[in-house]
Symmetry: C2
Subunit: 353 residues, 2 copies
């Protein structure tokens, strides 16, 4: 197994949280111990919580030492009056966890190796710098996919090298750079993508299509985006709610209905979701992170070049055949990543001009 194999695992983990980390980049991290055993493969899951590197380090330390694990769980639960258990620490308060690692690692990861899809950060943001953590724990080598071009956060590679850590850049660079594109677009004003769901044989209509894992993922996406855009016809026909009921503590996104007429039956559920602004727009004026839902209206617009801001397409696809006409689209698409949610597949595409 070579560097590309391990970076590939880190990449796959990171793609599971693509967009969900907004406004942070999606990042994955895999850790090998000093003998080359995989200790953990984790990703940054959500902004405000632990970055990919300390998450992977935390799991790695827990794998190395039962005592560390027990101590961490006890200390964390005492500090936050929480009740986390083993394997349940995806979303942890970053500062406390980071400090705990620094003070309790007992050199368990000395000479370990980290694979990170993005250059570890070197700045104090909501979380302290990851590069520093890798250095302090005595990692012998850090293998990096993409250079961090961000002026504030970059320099992690240099920091590590200056401390005597071997640093290798550019493993699966093209794929790691692609993972970062939505993040770079946020920073330049915004990112929009279109989400559709189809059956194995391409049917996009007629009730629920995908499984609960896929639908939960959609609700997570809704919870982090700034705006959900939906077509007027879809609103009238499907009478959707467009909320985040499948997840805990989800935030319901504001909705823009793209429609020439602003007449809608106000009993359509989406209008009465708490804490939501709904607006009707004839000409779309989109900022921030935006998900377009509904194939019917938007694929045609995309083909006509009227959705220039919509750069990516996310297709969920069930493993079942469905009776009905298939979705046709005439876009120039480039597949970026495919993964699975249970028996469903999902593919991120870039929409080429």
């Amino acid at each position: 197994m070579n560097d590309e194999f391990y970076m590939g695992l880190a990449l796959s983990e990171a793609w599971k949280f693509q967009i969900l980390t907004y406004p942070n980049p999606a990042v994955g991290c895999l850790i090998l111990d000093e003998n080359g055993q995989i200790l953990s493969c984790k990703a940054h899951e959500m902004a405000g919580y632990l970055h990919a590197e300390p998450t992977a380090i935390l799991f790695a330390l827990c794998k190395k030492s039962e005592k560390f694990k027990d101590d961490f769980i006890k200390a964390y639960n005492a500090k936050f009056s929480s009740n986390i258990k083993e394997g349940e620490f995806g979303l942890l308060e970053p500062k406390f966890s980071y400090e705990f690692i620094l003070n309790n690692h007992s050199n368990l990861l000395k000479n370990a190796k980290a694979y990170v899809t993005l250059e570890p950060c070197s700045h104090h943001g909501k979380t302290p710098p990851c590069a520093n953590l890798l250095k302090e724990l005595g990692f012998s080598e850090v293998i990096i996919g993409s250079h961090d071009e961000n002026k504030i956060a970059s320099g992690g590679g240099n920091l590590l090298q200056s401390a005597g850590v071997r640093v290798k850049f550019g493993v699966l660079k093209v794929r790691c750079d692609k993972l970062l594109e939505p993040f770079l677009a946020y920073q330049n004003g915004g990112f929009s993508f279109l989400k559709i769901a189809i059956s194995k044989n391409g049917v996009a209509s007629g009730g629920i299509i995908t499984n609960e894992f896929s639908r939960t993922h959609v609700h997570k996406l809704r919870s982090v985006i700034d705006t959900l855009v939906i077509g007027g016809n879809t609103v009238r026909t499907d009478r959707p709610r467009l909320d985040t009921r499948l997840i805990k503590n989800g935030k319901n996104p504001d909705v823009i209905i793209y429609s020439r007429s602003d007449k809608f039956d106000e009993t359509i559920p989406l209008f009465s979701v708490p804490g939501r602004k709904v607006s009707v727009q004839k000409e779309l004026n989109i900022k921030g992170l935006c998900m377009f839902e509904g194939a019917g209206e938007f694929l045609k617009l995309a083909k006509e070049g009227k959705l220039a801001n919509v750069k990516w397409l996310l297709i969920y696809q069930s493993s079942d055949f469905k009776n009905g006409e298939n979705l046709r689209l005439d876009l120039n698409l480039k597949p970026l990543f495919s993964g699975n949610f249970g028996d469903d597949g999902y593919t991120w595409y870039e929409i080429l001009d």
Copy 2:
């Protein structure tokens, strides 16, 4: 990372060669060194060649020692006047390779761990027994998915345990058992499956659909099956060749045309493929390993229960959308395994009653 993770990798590798190992079972093997580092993950690729365990062992030894690698390549090429290079030993003569491993392993895999989807064989067939090899090399633990129920080959677990090797049965057992089903069916008279190819949106017609990796895989399947069954209408419309030109030294399967009329234009390319028997049958009488090609005619028959012997469905799916009507089918399908050939996906389904 736990046993299930490693067995999952071995399973994925084995599924790449599902059917291609006929009349042997598809088997995958992953090896960890004494410290838990992954050394190799390989599968049995074709009957008559090395089993999964010695293949994985060979790669593991080459990873551990440059000297072993050089010596093996030199000795193998001298013996067979061949020109294999590093990484090119998927299909090796089994006896020589097995003996070479036994005589030259230098205890490099002492205390290593093997994950095998099927209990290692204990009998001398075309290749000497794999269980013995694991024992002789000093593996400390062998983790096994499925029990071998074969009277001749079974007993590998016992052999290992008697020699003091830790043996753990049943990791991902359900999935490992499913991998074995075609093999068990061969042994009970035969196995038939239907292969179709569709675009991302379910279009099955109108020229080439899948990429070269998928089509090469189809040619490999054709090369190992006993019989290819195709519908008369498909023959008349598509005028196919149904050969194995995309692979080296492929064997062209005999063809049964399922048709009421036996009148065919003899200039249709499939009739002039060298070394092939073509027959036309009104009532299918199938033995051995048989692939049905062509969705149009067979899906309807399957629905009507007239293809009772066709147990599995293999769907290749491209990542592109295509204009055209989608394939509809009304079968009760259970997805068994999904993988990728480049940007294409493929899924094996079980056809439930």
